[in-house]
C-alpha cells in the first residue's frame, strides 16, 4: 500500500463503494426485494377528499372477500406520532378527519396485491366534506374550519428573529432591493418507491425491514403506535434506493405495515406505487419569500429582512425545523450583522412536506443569491466580487450564534472564478448566452438532536476476534451516499489494515448501537468521528499488547500495511493477525467503542428556535452556471456548471464528487423543470412521466471541484458533502439567465413561458424609453 501525499493510506483516495458489487450484480436486496413465506400484501385506502369528516368506515365487505386476512382503521392504532416531539399529529390511519387527497384511511392485508386492491374498493367510508385550504397565504387568513384545531389560523408555527439592528443597517444602505420570490413544490423522487416488510415473529416480536433513512426513529415510533416495548421490535434497514429526505421521517406505509402485521400475526409487505410516493411526499414546500437587502457602496451588505411563508401541507412533519433552517442559514453564509427574519409554517390540505435535500435552505438561498445579483447590478459591481466583499473571517460566531470553525468559501469562489472563465465571460457573451454565480452552505449534522438529550448522537462498536476480522457495528444508514464505505475507510486507516478486513454491520437496531439517521448531512461528521474514536480505542488496545510483548512503549509503534511495527526498529513487528492473538491473550476480549456528541460550543444561542441551525461545522459551495437562452422559445440550455464544494476533507473523492454532482443535478431539476402541479389539493402530475426529473440529454455537464478547508473537529478534517451544493445551483442558473437576456425570473421552476413573458415585458418597457436598444438594459424583477 503506497503512502499518499497526505500521509494516509486510504483517506483521500477514491474508493469504490463497499456495496458496489452487491448493486451491480443485482444481488443486493432492497425492501421490496424481500419476501418471506406466508407473506401478505398490504394496500392502503386513501382519502378522495382534501378535507372531510369521517362519519363511519365499514370494512365488513372487504373482510368477507376471500384472501383478505385483516383490515385496519384508525381505531386499531390511536396513538399519535410525528418526527418532532412538538408535532405528534399523525396517526396510522385518520381518526375523525381526512386532511388531504391521499390521506390514509384504512388498510387491508391479503394473499395477493390483486385481492388487496379489490378489497379497498369494498371498504365503505361515509365522508362529510369540509371547506379546504390550498393556498398558504389564504390559509393563514382562515377564521374557521381549521385543519388542526390546535393550530389557529392554520399556522403550524411562526418564528420572529432579530439580530443586530436591521433598521440602522437599512438606513446605512446605499442600495436597496426588495423582491417577492416563489418556489414551487418539489419531491425527492428517489428511484426506489418506499417499501416496508413487517414480520410478526413466533415469539411475538416484530421485525421491520424498511426503506428508511432513520431506523432509530422508526423503531421508537412503531413502539409508540403499536404499543409494544422497543425491546420487542427490531428494525433493519436493507439497501436503500435513494432517500434525499423522503425517507427521513416515518412514512405512513411503515406504520400501516406494522399495524397490519401485529393484527394479523403475519408478515405483511407494503410497497408504494409511484403515485403513493408523491402522496406520502415530504418534499420541499412551496415557499414564498419577501426579501429586502441593503448594501453599502462598498458592496458590504448592511441589512437583511425576510418574511418566509412555507406551505407545509396537512401535517407538521419537520415543518418547524424547515422554517427555522430557512432563517438560520439565510444570512449566515456571509458576514452580515443585521438580520430580521419572520418565518411562518402554514398548514394546507395537501400532503405533508418534509426535509428534502438542502433542508430549509434551498428556496431562501435562491431568493438571497438572486437579490445579491440584482444589487451587484444596481451598484455596477461584479456579482462575484460582491460575494468576496461579504466573507466571514473564520473561526467566528455569526450574528445568529452559529459557530464557524472552517470556511472554504473564499477558495470555492476563486476556484470557480478560474475554472469557469468568469472574467472573460461575465457580461461579455453574445446576447442569449450568459454566466451566473451563486453560493450556498449547509450543516454537517444538527448540533442539537430532534429529541433533546445529552446522549451521544452516534455510537460505534468494534469487535476483533480470533479470525482477525474487524467487525464494525454502526447504526449509520447507508442510503447510497457511501456512508458504509466512509466508515470502513476510517477504521482501516486507523488500524493500518486493508479495507477487505473490515466487516461493517449497519443499521440494525438489534445488532448495532444508535445512530440518529441519515439526514442533515450528519453521517460523515458524526458517525465518522464515532468510528474514528472506536478505531483509535481498538488500535490502542492492540498496540498496548504488542508493545508489552516487545517491552517497548506503545507510542513507539505504528499500524500500517497490515502490520504493527516499531517505528525505529523494524525487526520488532507483528502482522495484524499475530497482533490480534497477542492482544486477545492480554485483554481477553477485544471490543472498542466510540461515540460522538457535538461540543457545547457548537450548540447555538439561547433564543426561541436557536436550536435549529447550529452544527459542528458548515460546508460551503460556489458555482458558476453557463446558459444559452433561446429568446424565441424561452427554452434554457444549461451548458455547464462548475461547482466547488468545501467538504473539509474528501475522505473518498469518488463519492464526494458523486454527491456534488448529484446535488447540482437536483438543483438543475428544481431550477428549470421539476414542479408539483396542484389543482384544488389534487396533484396533477404524480408520476415520473409528468414530474420531470432530468434525464441524460438535457442535463448539464457538471465539473465538480473539491475544496478542503480541513475542519478542526471533523474526522480527518471532513465535513458535509451531500447537500450543500444543491442550493447554489438554482440561483446560479437564474443569474446566468439574467446575464444572457437581461430578465430576472423570481419564480421557480423557470419555465420557458415565464422567460418569454419577462422578455415581452422588457421589450415593452424598452419601447417606452426608446432611447437605447442596448444589449442588456436593466430591468426590475418581474415577479409582481
Amino acid at each position: 500500500m503506497a503512502k499518499n501525499i497526505n500521509g494516509f493510506n486510504l483517506i483521500g483516495k477514491p474508493m469504490a463503494m463497499t456495496d458496489a458489487r452487491a448493486k451491480v450484480t443485482g444481488l443486493g436486496k432492497y425492501a421490496d426485494d424481500l419476501s418471506v413465506p406466508g407473506m401478505l400484501i398490504g394496500k392502503i385506502l386513501h382519502s378522495p377528499y382534501a378535507h372531510a369528516r369521517i362519519r363511519c368506515i365499514d370494512t365488513s365487505q372487504a373482510e368477507a372477500l376471500a384472501g383478505v386476512k385483516v383490515t385496519a382503521t384508525g381505531e386499531d392504532a390511536r396513538n399519535p406520532y410525528g418526527i418532532l416531539p412538538i408535532g405528534h399529529d399523525e396517526r396510522a390511519f385518520a381518526l375523525g378527519k381526512a386532511l388531504y387527497i391521499g390521506d390514509n384511511i384504512a388498510a387491508v392485508a391479503a394473499t395477493s396485491s390483486e385481492i388487496a386492491e379489490q378489497a379497498l374498493d369494498l371498504i365503505r367510508v361515509d365522508y362529510e366534506q369540509l371547506p379546504a385550504w390550498f393556498d398558504p397565504e389564504e390559509s393563514m387568513k382562515a377564521s374557521s374550519n381549521w385543519i388542526n384545531d390546535e393550530r389557529p389560523q392554520n399556522v403550524e408555527k411562526e418564528y420572529h428573529h432579530v439580530f443586530g439592528d436591521p433598521d440602522k443597517g437599512f438606513a446605512e444602505a446605499d442600495f436597496l432591493a426588495e423582491e417577492r420570490y416563489y418556489a414551487g413544490e418539489v419531491n425527492q423522487a428517489a428511484m426506489e418507491p418506499h417499501a416496508t416488510l413487517a414480520v410478526w415473529e413466533p415469539d411475538n416480536r416484530l421485525t421491520v425491514h424498511s426503506s428508511t433513512q432513520v431506523p432509530f426513529y422508526l423503531h421508537r415510533t412503531i413502539a409508540a403506535v403499536c404499543e409494544m416495548p422497543m425491546s420487542q421490535i427490531r428494525v433493519i434497514k436493507p439497501l436503500i434506493g435513494g432517500g434525499f429526505g423522503g425517507k427521513s421521517e416515518i412514512i405512513p406505509l411503515e406504520v400501516a405495515a406494522c399495524v397490519l402485521a401485529k393484527k394479523s400475526r403475519k408478515p405483511v409487505k407494503i410497497t408504494y406505487t409511484r403515485e403513493e410516493v408523491f402522496l406520502a411526499h415530504r418534499g420541499r414546500p412551496i415557499t414564498i419569500v419577501y426579501l429586502k437587502v441593503g448594501m453599502a457602496r462598498s458592496g458590504k451588505i448592511t441589512a437583511v429582512q425576510a418574511r418566509v411563508i412555507q406551505d407545509g401541507g396537512a401535517y407538521c412533519g419537520y415543518g418547524p425545523v424547515t422554517v427555522l433552517y430557512s432563517g438560520a442559514l439565510l444570512g449566515a453564509i456571509y458576514d452580515i450583522a443585521n438580520v430580521q427574519y419572520d418565518g411562518f409554517r402554514v398548514l394546507t390540505n395537501k400532503p405533508a412536506c418534509g426535509a428534502m435535500r438542502g433542508h430549509g435552505t434551498v428556496n431562501v438561498r435562491f431568493a438571497f443569491e438572486s437579490i445579491l445579483d440584482q444589487l451587484s447590478h444596481q451598484a455596477g459591481l461584479d456579482p462575484l466580487e460582491l460575494r468576496r466583499r461579504n466573507l466571514l473571517k473564520a473561526p467566528c460566531i455569526t450574528a445568529n450564534s452559529l459557530r464557524v470553525t472552517s470556511y472554504g468559501l473564499p477558495e470555492c469562489i476563486e476556484r470557480v472564478f478560474e475554472r469557469s472563465g468568469w472574467a472573460a465571460k461575465r457580461g461579455k457573451l453574445p446576447y442569449g448566452k450568459g454566466v451566473g454565480v451563486a453560493c450556498s452552505h449547509y450543516v454537517s449534522g444538527a448540533a442539537n438532536p430532534i429529541i433533546r438529550s445529552n446522549m451521544p448522537h452516534t455510537t460505534v462498536h468494534i469487535k476483533v476476534d480470533r479470525d482477525a476480522a474487524v467487525t464494525v457495528y454502526t447504526g449509520a444508514s447507508e442510503i447510497g451516499q457511501g456512508s458504509d464505505t466512509m466508515q470502513v475507510q476510517i477504521v482501516a486507516e486507523v488500524l493500518g489494515v486493508s479495507t477487505g478486513r473490515i466487516r461493517l454491520v449497519a443499521a440494525d437496531t438489534e445488532l448495532t448501537p444508535i445512530d440518529l439517521g441519515s439526514y442533515s448531512s450528519r453521517v460523515t461528521f458524526m458517525a465518522g468521528n464515532a468510528c474514528l474514536n472506536a478505531a483509535r480505542d481498538m488500535r490502542e488496545q492492540i498496540v498496548a499488547a504488542v508493545a508489552r510483548k516487545f517491552g517497548c512503549a506503545a507510542e513507539d509503534f505504528e499500524t500500517r500495511d497490515g502490520r504493527i511495527s516499531h517505528k525505529e526498529d523494524q525487526s520488532r513487528n507483528l502482522s495484524f493477525d499475530e497482533a490480534v492473538a497477542v492482544a486477545l491473550e492480554f485483554h481477553g476480549a477485544l471490543t472498542a467503542r466510540g461515540t460522538y456528541a457535538p461540543p457545547e460550543t457548537a450548540r447555538g444561542g439561547k433564543f426561541k428556535g436557536a436550536g435549529v441551525g447550529p452544527s459542528p461545522a458548515y460546508s460551503y459551495s460556489a458555482q458558476v452556471a453557463e446558459v444559452t437562452v433561446d429568446t424565441e422559445t424561452g427554452q434554457v440550455r444549461v451548458d455547464k456548471i462548475v461547482a466547488a464544494h468545501d467538504c473539509g476533507k474528501a475522505l473518498n473523492p469518488l463519492t464526494v464528487e458523486g454527491q456534488i454532482e448529484g446535488s447540482v443535478y437536483m438543483g438543475f431539476g428544481q431550477a428549470l423543470q421539476e414542479d408539483m402541479v396542484w389543482k384544488d389539493g389534487r396533484l396533477m402530475n404524480p408520476s415520473l412521466l409528468e414530474y420531470r426529473i432530468p434525464a441524460t440529454k438535457e442535463n448539464p455537464e457538471i465539473e465538480s471541484i473539491i475544496v478542503e478547508s480541513i475542519d478542526p473537529e471533523g474526522p480527518f478534517g471532513a465535513k458535509e458533502a451531500g447537500e450543500g451544493s444543491l442550493a447554489a445551483t438554482i440561483p446560479a442558473i437564474a443569474n446566468a439567465i439574467f446575464d444572457a437576456v437581461g430578465v430576472r425570473i423570481n419564480s421557480i421552476p423557470i419555465t420557458p413561458d415565464k422567460i418569454l413573458d419577462a422578455l415581452r415585458e422588457k421589450q415593452k418597457s424598452a419601447a417606452g424609453n426608446k432611447a437605447n436598444a442596448s444589449k442588456k438594459p436593466v430591468v426590475a424583477g418581474v415577479s409582481r
Binding site: 469504490a16 443485482g26 428511484m191 426506489e192 435513494g242 434525499f244 464528487e657 448529484g662 415520473l688 426529473i693
Partner: protein
C-alpha cells in the same frame, strides 16, 4: 410456460396478466430488475431480450416464451463481472444502485452494438433511463471505463485467435 433467462430454461406457471418484471422478481426470485415508476418512463426494469433492451414492466410474461432474456443477474458472475458492471462499481455509476441494473442493461446493449460510442451516442442510448443520484457524470465515467476495459480485452484476445 418456459422462460429462457440468463441461459437457463425456467418453467413457471403464470397468469395471462403477469408482467415479465413480476415473473422475474416474484416467480423466479430474480429481484435485480426494479420497478421505479408505473408508466414505462424510468428504465429501472430494463432487461435484454434477444440482445435488445426492453422494459419488463410493460411486457406480458406469456409473450416472451422462447426468447433469450438476460437480466442484471446474467450480465456477469461474481467470479467475473462484466466490464460494464465493473465500470459502474468502480467509477461511481452506482450510488443508491436502484436504477443501476437498468442503466447497465442499456449500456451493455449499446456497447455490444457500438464498442466505441461518442458522448452523444452514450447520452442518447441512456436517455430512456432515469437516475436520481449521480447527475449522470459518473455514469458516463462508468461507461467509458467499460469501453476501455472491453478494448483492452479484445486487444488481448487478438493474438489468441490468430
Amino acid at each position: 410456460m418456459h422462460l429462457q433467462v440468463n441461459g437457463e430454461d425456467r418453467e413457471i406457471a403464470v397468469a395471462p396478466n403477469r408482467l415479465l418484471l413480476d415473473a422475474l422478481r416474484e416467480d423466479l426470485g430474480l429481484t435485480g430488475s426494479k420497478r421505479g415508476c408505473d408508466d414505462s418512463s424510468c428504465g429501472c426494469c430494463a432487461v435484454l431480450v434477444d440482445g435488445t433492451p426492453i422494459l419488463s414492466c410493460v411486457a406480458l410474461a406469456a409473450s416472451y416464451e422462447r426468447r433469450e432474456i438476460i437480466t442484471v443477474e446474467g450480465l456477469g458472475s461474481l467470479g467475473e463481472l462484466d466490464p460494464v458492471q465493473e465500470g459502474y462499481a468502480e467509477m461511481g455509476g452506482a450510488q443508491c444502485g436502484y436504477c443501476t441494473p437498468g442503466f447497465m442493461i442499456a449500456t451493455k446493449a449499446l456497447l455490444d452494438r457500438n464498442p466505441n460510442p461518442t458522448m452523444d451516442e452514450i447520452r442518447e442510448a441512456l436517455s430512456g433511463n432515469l437516475c436520481r443520484c449521480t447527475g449522470y457524470m459518473q455514469i458516463y465515467e462508468s461507461v467509458k471505463y467499460a469501453i476501455e476495459k472491453l478494448r483492452a480485452k479484445s486487444a488481448a484476445q487478438v493474438p489468441a485467435t490468430r
